[in-house]
Structure formats: structure tokens, C-alpha cells
Amino acid sequence: MGKIEEVEIEEGCIKLPVEFIQGLKPKSKVIVRIDRFGLVIKPKIDPVEDMIGCVKSTPKDIEKQLDERVEEDDTEIY
């Protein structure tokens, strides 16, 4: 589902893009949150399940990467 960049307000109601509505199942719940960038509306999902494994990556030594974050040199990886 694409990110909503802009919504219209008409007669006191927020008009959401059709694609957003079509992406929801019947009785779907949404999370509405106001942050520094404005109104954020997202389908209600379990944030833990959404986060787990959402970044596909090759094997990583994350602990080493966190330790050595400023020690990269200019050589090519491949």
C-alpha cells in the first residue's frame, strides 16, 4: 500500500485516496497518529510482526557493524 503524501479535507471530512481504502479488508482497523509531520494513518497491524524480518539481508555481523561504524575504508566490497 502506497504512502499517503496528501489528503483533502471536504466538509470537515478527510478524503483518503481510493487505493488506500481498497487496500483495507472489511472491518479493517486503522491507526491514526499525529506526529511532527502531520496526520499519519496506517492499517492496524501488529508492529512486532511487521518489524520482524522486514529487512531482507545477506548474513551480517550486526554487533561488529555497530562497533566499527566509522572505520570503513574506501575499498570496494565486491
Binding site: 491507526i31 518489524m51 524480518g53 529487512v55 539481508s57 554487533e63 555497530l66 570503513e72 575499498t75 566490497i77
Partner: protein, 171 residues
């Protein structure tokens, strides 16, 4: 004390960025263990917090992962020749930040007191600066346990309980 992720959990826990990143990235060495641990935290309703600088660490690794995958170059080199390269990681960063906030993770401030405590922990616990800030924030906010896969936190186990799945730390 060093404890296993499967041991009884306290009511409140400081989450190090290493646990979040391992759970998030499929290639993390401890992906499965950290994913199960986050589910357990959710299911048991454990109060979790982390310092604001953890977000910076998470964002950095997510950007590094994406840029290096797409360009085949180290992040710094790629960024210096094309700062727009970091935009490729935008969706990952936005999604995970939002998920962390929605799961109720508290973001703790790092103030001057914490930084001065952190300075002392450099020498007392032989920690690198970032890790000493994590420890200082943990203690300042009265958390008695920290979850991490970073073996450097073994030096802190006299001050806080350290929960981990890293076999190096559990020997």
C-alpha cells in the same frame, strides 16, 4: 548477572539496538533468537525502553545495509559521491521507526547527567563511548536489566542484569 533470553524476565527492560536490528534483518546472526525474544516481550507485556541514540544506530545500519546492497560500495564512499543514495533506505527506516513507537518502546533522553555518568563508565567498565552512554541511560532511568547481543556489555553485568542469546556471553 548474565541471563538467557529464555530466562524469567523483569517487568522493565532496556533494549539495545543490536536486539532490534537482529530481529529486523533476516541476515542477523541472532535473527531467530531476537525475533522470538521480541515476541516474548510483547506477549508478556514487558515495559521496554531504549535511548534516543539507539534510533540513530538502527537508522545507520539500515541505511548501510541498503546502500551497500544496491551499490556494492561501502556507505561512506557511496554517500560522499552521491548523498541521494541514502534515500533508498527511507522505507525501511520509516517503517521500523513507526513500528518501534507503535509497539510502545519508550525513547529515553540522553542528558548531561547521563553523559557525565557515561564518561565514568568508560573507565570503570572499560566500555566504548556509545556503550557507556547506553549503560548510563539504563541506570539513570532505573532499569535493572538490559537486553543485548553485544559481548562488550559483559563488563556491565555487576551493575545490571544482561539478557542475551550470544553464546560468547553465555560461556
Amino acid at each position: 548477572m548474565i541471563l538467557r533470553f529464555t530466562d524469567k524476565l523483569p517487568k522493565a527492560l532496556y533494549l539495545d539496538s543490536s536486539v532490534i536490528l537482529n530481529a529486523t534483518m533476516t541476515g542477523g546472526r541472532f535473527h531467530d533468537e531476537c525475533a522470538s525474544f521480541l515476541r516474548r516481550i510483547r506477549d508478556e507485556g514487558i515495559r521496554c525502553a531504549t535511548a534516543s541514540l539507539s534510533l540513530d544506530e538502527i537508522w545507520y545500519i539500515l541505511i548501510k545495509n541498503k546502500v551497500e546492497h544496491l551499490t556494492g560500495q561501502f556507505l561512506v564512499k557511496s554517500y560522499k559521491s552521491n548523498p541521494n543514495s541514502i534515500l533508498s533506505a527511507r522505507d525501511d527506516v520509516e517503517r521500523i521507526t513507526f513500528d518501534l513507537l507503535m509497539m510502545g518502546l519508550e525513547i529515553l533522553t540522553v542528558d548531561l547527567d547521563a553523559m557525565l555518568d557515561a564518561k565514568d563508565f568508560l573507565w570503570d567498565c572499560k566500555l566504548l563511548p556509545r556503550d557507556s552512554v547506553h549503560l548510563a541511560v539504563t541506570l539513570k532511568h532505573r532499569f535493572k536489566a538490559i537486553a543485548t547481543t553485544n559481548p562488550d556489555f559483559m563488563n556491565t553485568s555487576d551493575l545490571v542484569d544482561v539478557y542475551t542469546c550470544n553464546p560468547k556471553m553465555l560461556r
